[in-house]
Symmetry: C2
Subunit: 223 residues, 2 copies
């Protein structure tokens, strides 16, 4: 089976993406990052998902503590309670160049272990304003890999696959269920409590997705 | 003064690039990486160069120990004694996606601290076979930043500047001298001994550059 590297945060989207990679017939290696997140709840979820599938889980440290973002900076407020206002502005949870850095690391690992593709659970439908989740970005990233890597100059650049980029959150939930993904093990909340807060942008999007899909979200919520 | 981030390995090329950034009137922040190099001799040199200029030096850890390369893998031989054979093949010292990862991190820091440009000491003349040192790669990287960052989508993408990309090694030495760069503090050797080995690809290129420039290289060599 061809090897692939799957970026796995431990959230809903990346877990369904991992399920899609397995469905594509790849032998996946999951890759997570410790990048100065405020909490490790997501990484715990990623580890649980990998145990569920019995696949290799690489966790790499990248010091992004000096990158300005509400996700890594304890002094910034995580936005919440704005379900009606998920506008097209770049939110404060934007971490500069985060997906660029994660994809670059994944591409380097692919080239090192002989994997032909990176999977990333980016989504451009329930658009949260992140520039590094848009199809235009991934196209430009693919062209950059073709020019800047040994594999690329040899005409076999690492592929960047975004299987859920065109799906609504409800469709992602449905797809996850259809693929048998362990959605009950995933963590989406920006906060790191015992239970998901149910109020941050990420919880609101997730709840809306399950509701519209008519599927019960089995994780517990505070509200 | 506009801020800039300068990738500084501690070698000749990146030190002359730093001198060029200062010459451009920027306020530089130097950025080095601990990425699993076999030795820390280069990082010591980078620190000495920053002390010389009295500028801020950020050293970030990136775990690239699983990336296959003679620079990070203790089991691979660093090539040496092939002065007549610096061919266009990608050498074993190629670290997959290394410049891509370094530039991505630098771009993220730029966006976080409000710097408008990254300087990188890549060179495409004394070409050592690295795909991520070619102008075509930097053009593709610039387009990718324009699509994938907040600054880029706002029309003020971080610039990627390669001031020495078109210079021969001899011209880099001359330029460094003209700019008053502390060339005697730099380290180019792939090995980490007390003195440079004088035999690896990097030493051979450096020695050739000083010789052709007619300038004495003040660092000591084993041979």
């Amino acid at each position: 089976m061809p090897k692939a590297v799957v970026l796995l945060s431990g959230g809903l989207d990346s877990t369904v993406t991992l399920a899609a990679a397995i469905g594509d017939g790849t032998e996946p290696v999951a890759l997570s990052f410790r990048y100065g997140q405020r909490h490790s709840r997501e990484l715990d979820a990623a580890a649980a998902v990998c145990r569920h599938y019995g696949i290799r889980h690489m966790v790499m440290d990248i010091d992004m503590s000096s990158f300005r973002s509400a996700l890594t900076d304890g002094g910034m407020e995580v936005p919440s309670d704005r379900e009606g206002d998920l506008s097209r502005e770049v939110p404060s949870t934007y971490v500069p160049a985060r997906n660029i850095i994660f994809l670059s690391m994944a591409a380097g690992i692919c080239e090192s272990i002989g994997a032909g593709a990176v999977y990333i659970g980016a989504n451009a439908v329930d658009y949260s304003g992140y520039p590094d989740c848009r199809p235009e970005f991934f196209d430009a990233f693919r062209r950059m890999l073709a020019e800047g890597t040994k594999a690329g100059t040899e005409g076999r650049a690492v592929e960047v696959r975004t299987p859920i980029i065109g799906l609504s959150k409800a469709d992602i939930v449905r797809e996850g269920k259809a693929l048998g993904a362990p959605l009950h093990l995933t963590w989406s909340c920006y906060k790191g409590g015992e239970r998901a807060c149910g109020r941050c942008d990420s919880c609101l999007l997730r709840l809306k997705g399950f509701r519209e899909a008519g599927i019960e979200d089995e994780i517990g919520y505070e509200v």
